[in-house]
Symmetry: C2
Subunit: 343 residues, 2 copies
Amino acid sequence: MAEEVSNKQVILKNYVIGYPKESDMEIKNSTIKLKVPEGSKAVVVKNLYLSCDPYMRSRMRKMEGSYVESFTPGSPITGYGVAKVLESGDPNFQKGDLVWGMTGWEEYSIITPTQTLFKIHDKDVPLSYYTGILGMPGMTAYAGFHEVCSPKKGETVFVSAASGAVGQLVGQFAKMLGCYVVGSAGSKEKVDLLKSKFGFDEAFNYKEEQDLNAALKRYFPDGIDIYFENVGGKMLDAVLLNMKLHGRIAVCGMISQYNLEQTEGVHNLFCLITKRIRMEGFIVFDYYHLYPKYLEMVLPQIKAGKVVYVEDVADGLESAPSALVGLFSGRNIGKQVVIVSRE
Amino acid sequence: MAEEVSNKQVILKNYVIGYPKESDMEIKNSTIKLKVPEGSKAVVVKNLYLSCDPYMRSRMRKMEGSYVESFTPGSPITGYGVAKVLESGDPNFQKGDLVWGMTGWEEYSIITPTQTLFKIHDKDVPLSYYTGILGMPGMTAYAGFHEVCSPKKGETVFVSAASGAVGQLVGQFAKMLGCYVVGSAGSKEKVDLLKSKFGFDEAFNYKEEQDLNAALKRYFPDGIDIYFENVGGKMLDAVLLNMKLHGRIAVCGMISQYNLEQTEGVHNLFCLITKRIRMEGFIVFDYYHLYPKYLEMVLPQIKAGKVVYVEDVADGLESAPSALVGLFSGRNIGKQVVIVSRE
């Protein structure tokens, strides 16, 4: 008989309307047998780091036909994480391997299917980075910027939610290419970080701007070539007015809209015509074939200190609901991670 | 001394707010010397056919930095037309040439610069076609569909304002490629035309649909690959909900919004992400280098009766204000043309 151990879990109590609250989740003590089920190719893992990501909001409501499935009320939340393999029914993974991919918000998980798991080879970096710069958000920034935005040296780039898990990297990748980069964020601390830590040319606190259009005109007197869209709503409307001819908008997220029962309308889409703008939504799933190429680029940059990554780390599974909820008020500074266990 | 002749003109009295009215324009009797000004490379033309196009609405307001200039209140409206050269200061044009391009809403015009004029070589087709299928709207349909939509045989295509100058051609080009094509229009007569004359697979009257989303689901149970956008607003919102993964939206116009002081907001842009949609605005100006290729394709199709074109012809310059205003209530059936003179 396999050892049965206690397994703390973060349960979504019910589908959420409006802004999610900590009380939409609960911590539950369960038990788990640390054993691959008979005949299964599952892997049994111990979860180390969990990732709080904005797209998870959409999974908190009942949806049909979306690109991700809704969470199941009464069951643990699932999401990206870093985990250690305890036992494997899949020949691609061995006991002791470190992996990142879709796992459960709990101490131990039985993961099946295993196709979404990536084996971690390079451990000379903080393991938590595999929830961020070396995981889904990193690939999102890389693919979104390089594949969707068609950037060229010298172009002007605007990034919203710029200190977040993805935004801080888009800005750094754009600087590496020789672009002029401006970011927006929601606090003085974040704005300072953009300029002092991530090397953005300029940054502003959107909450302090009466007129976003005027703010963008101040930083982009000749217009914006590339907008990396993380927020939607009013910011998108202001950006549309400030795009250059043949500008590109990579639509990565629209976090300002996720908790609204009625989204804000976007009024300036006519600019797409007059300025011949390409606006393109993307999802990182479609770009994971580029992951090895991305690692090859980014790992040496990290080790050389040329690309930096700021994380906001919450300690313990009990702090996970608060960490997740905090994303939607912008409480986190940098990538929001939850430590379940350090090893 | 050159002959001075009377020259009836259509004058824009003032910038227009809201829906344009006939009374925003006036017919004025002026005079003109039919002579190329000394030292100028202008051409003097007699206007034959004038084109009423939705984009002209934007020129009726004061704008800065748009892709077209505002009209000048007190001066004749300008727009695309077909004209006969009476005298030329440009060696590329000779007396007697037929041309199409930017001209004035008047009997005679002195056109300078002449770079926007195309010489008409094939006269075995109705000359008015050079304001439509063989002119700007034809190139718009061709470039918008083939260059912006990246269409493939078998894909599903939706066209709004489908019986209009551009829409009727997009539908026919899509059918030629082997697509499934549905169009929307604003009257039973137009809907009948789409099916009986232009070969659309299906068509519907958007004014009779309580729920545009439901209407689109009825005609596209598996979703829309390509949307050729002519109207904007609520239709765009409904389309976004019905796009397929990796769908494409070519944004040609948003006529439903042109006369509103506050445009309708578009609420479903989040679908751009979940469905990885590319939405791209375009303007025909960028594609005129393809005009010879387009003529080579479309002229034989017209002569063989395989591509048809429906025009709504208003007779006489006096009828031009009413014809132009009619565009914005959808009064025209097909391409709206004004005959100034038949030769």
